[in-house]
């Protein structure tokens, strides 16, 4: 069977390689053989010692054959056929496919020095399956039973080029997987173009958000004076944790008055001028009246007064947590302080 097979392949080649119809059915049965031929042909250095005799014979013959094969369409046709075939012939010839995969594994183990080639071999299949799935998802063309036609990629320069391209594609697909985790809502999309689409949309939306937020900041502050002491911002960063303690805001009143008391220290610490002190005194007077402090009130008023201290109170942190629950996204407190700081400064100056 093997010699016949090889001859028919040669016959196909001699036709110019374009017309695939003739050996089509033949290929469908035997493309796993072709796959092995291909892999073994590429694995020039060592023939697989673990192979059966039949395979070995086939490889020996295939090797000579492959060397003479200048028509790489043949090559790629094989690849495509095999890659698609797993899906098609799951029930039928699972065994042969297992043999193929086993063989690839053996190749991997054997020729460690030729890591590139073996990787390419495996990546060939992977990228092929990726690509074929891509084609399926992205293009509405139905993959016909004569799947050899699917990707008869003609005119690719040499073996090394195509293999390098396969490697490159595998790398790209790895990155795409990582991107899927990063970009929200990308889990269902498998095709490269679709993924790129999502990435583009996400980057654009983020950039627009930056624009919008900078505009908002520009309008909020009549002057760009962020009078923030670098020293204490750094301290804030150091002392703040990325994860907040569980919110226990029951002790609202005590927390509230604690902060009022801590204001004096904070004011002196942050180096604000006396004008702010008077404003804070005013705040204190007005705020001290209500005993039960609802959360909203705490949000709006407390953060005016709250200045970061060198030592974080657990109560302070609880308050911030309340703020976050109200609306902010991230566990990042410092900016609220900086914002309140600058706002209070503004009020003083204007």
């Amino acid at each position: 069977m093997n010699p016949e097979f090889i001859e028919s392949n040669a016959g196909v080649r001699s036709q110019g390689g374009i017309k695939w119809q003739q050996p089509q059915s033949f290929f469908i049965e035997n493309d796993h053989h072709l796959q092995n031929m291909f892999t073994s042909g590429i694995n020039i250095v060592k023939p697989d010692p673990g192979m059966d005799d039949s395979w070995a014979g086939l490889d020996a013959g295939a090797y000579g054959y492959q060397l003479g094969c200048g028509d790489h369409m043949f090559l790629h046709g094989n690849l495509t056929s095999v890659s698609v075939s797993p899906r098609k012939r799951k029930a039928d010839k699972g065994q042969t496919l297992q043999v193929v995969s086993e063989k690839e594994k053996k190749i991997k183990r054997c020729s460690d020095g030729d890591s590139k080639i073996t990787r390419q071999n495996s990546s060939n299949n992977n990228s092929n399956s990726n690509n074929s799935s891509k084609d399926k998802s992205k293009v509405s063309k139905v993959q016909k039973p004569d799947y050899i036609h699917v990707r008869a990629r003609r005119g690719q320069a040499t073996d090394s080029h195509s293999l390098a391209e396969r490697v490159r594609r595998e790398k790209i697909s790895d990155r795409m997987k990582f991107l899927q985790d990063l970009v929200p809502g990308c889990n269902k999309i498998t095709g490269k173009a679709g993924m790129l689409d999502e990435i583009i949309n996400y980057v654009q939306s983020l950039q627009k958000q930056v624009e919008f937020l900078s505009m908002k900041l520009a309008t909020v502050n009549p002057e760009l004076d962020f009078n923030i002491d670098n020293a204490f911002t750094r301290e804030m960063f150091e002392s703040s944790t990325s994860e907040f303690p569980a919110l226990a805001c029951s002790s609202t009143n005590s927390a509230y008055f604690d902060q009022l008391n801590s204001l004096d220290q904070v004011v002196s610490y942050s180096g604000l001028d006396m004008g702010i002190n008077s404003s804070e005194m005013g705040l204190r007077r007005s705020i001290s009246a209500p005993v039960s402090v609802p959360e909203a009130f705490m949000d709006s008023s407390c953060f005016n007064q709250i200045q970061p201290t060198a030592t974080w109170d657990a109560d302070l942190q609880n308050l911030y947590k309340v703020e976050f629950e109200q609306g902010t996204l991230i566990p990042f407190q410092s900016h609220q302080f900086t914002g309140s700081n600058e706002a209070s400064n503004l009020k003083m100056e204007t």
């Binding site: 036609h149 790209i172 173009a193 900041l217 502050n221 962020f226 670098n230 410092s334």
Partner: protein, 194 residues
């Protein structure tokens, strides 16, 4: 996300510093100017927080440096690293451009021949052709979006885009919290002060 919190800290520090420099130089800017300054500071801070590890940050900074007035700001923000960056960028970008250009010419010459041959078995190749052009178009768009993306091949473009997305997220979060805090304090103050 340990790295992102670190990045956040770096970014906010540098941004605040940049804004201070900005506002000390000029007073009485109109809204658009302010917005531009804020955004510029944010971008530069983000890029410098990366410490020239990624090429998009390098590209961003070199772009910002092109305008004369920003140079002082940029230099101040970057600190001692900036001269190295400048030396690195120019040869890097030109080499990249040359490489990309020669690649494009080669591709074009190859693809013309390929396209002629491809008309043989039409359907399958048409599918591939369509898929490829789709991907190509999108990569072009992405190249335009990511700073410094024009001189990158596809693989590194995706890597850069990944990194850029992460940093953009950090930037957006920081700016949003600041804006929110400012808004909150603005709302409350008039109520209290009458």
């Amino acid at each position: 996300m340990h790295t992102s919190s670190k990045l956040t800290k770096e970014f906010t520090k540098k941004w605040v510093k940049g804004l201070q420099i900005c506002c000390s130089s000029k007073k009485n800017m109109d809204v658009l100017e302010r917005k531009k300054k804020i955004k510029l500071c944010a971008d530069i801070a983000l890029a410098s927080a990366k410490n020239a590890t990624t090429s998009w940050s390098i590209a961003l900074i070199s772009e910002a440096k092109k305008e004369g007035e920003n140079e002082i700001l940029v230099d101040n923000l970057l600190g001692p690293e900036s001269p190295f960056k400048q030396q690195k960028t120019i040869p890097l970008m030109s080499a990249c451009h040359k490489r990309v250009r020669s690649k494009k010419i080669l591709k074009r010459s190859c693809s013309v021949g390929q396209r002629m041959k491809k008309m043989g078995p039409p359907k399958s190749n048409l599918a591939i052709y369509i898929a490829k052009t789709l991907v190509k178009k999108r990569t072009q768009v992405l190249q335009r979006l990511v700073p410094g993306g024009e001189s990158m091949d596809e693989f590194s473009l995706i890597k850069e885009a990944l990194d850029y997305i992460l940093s953009l997220r950090v930037q957006v979060d920081v700016m949003r919290s600041l804006a929110h805090a400012a808004e909150v304090s603005n709302q409350s103050d008039p109520n209290v002060f009458g």
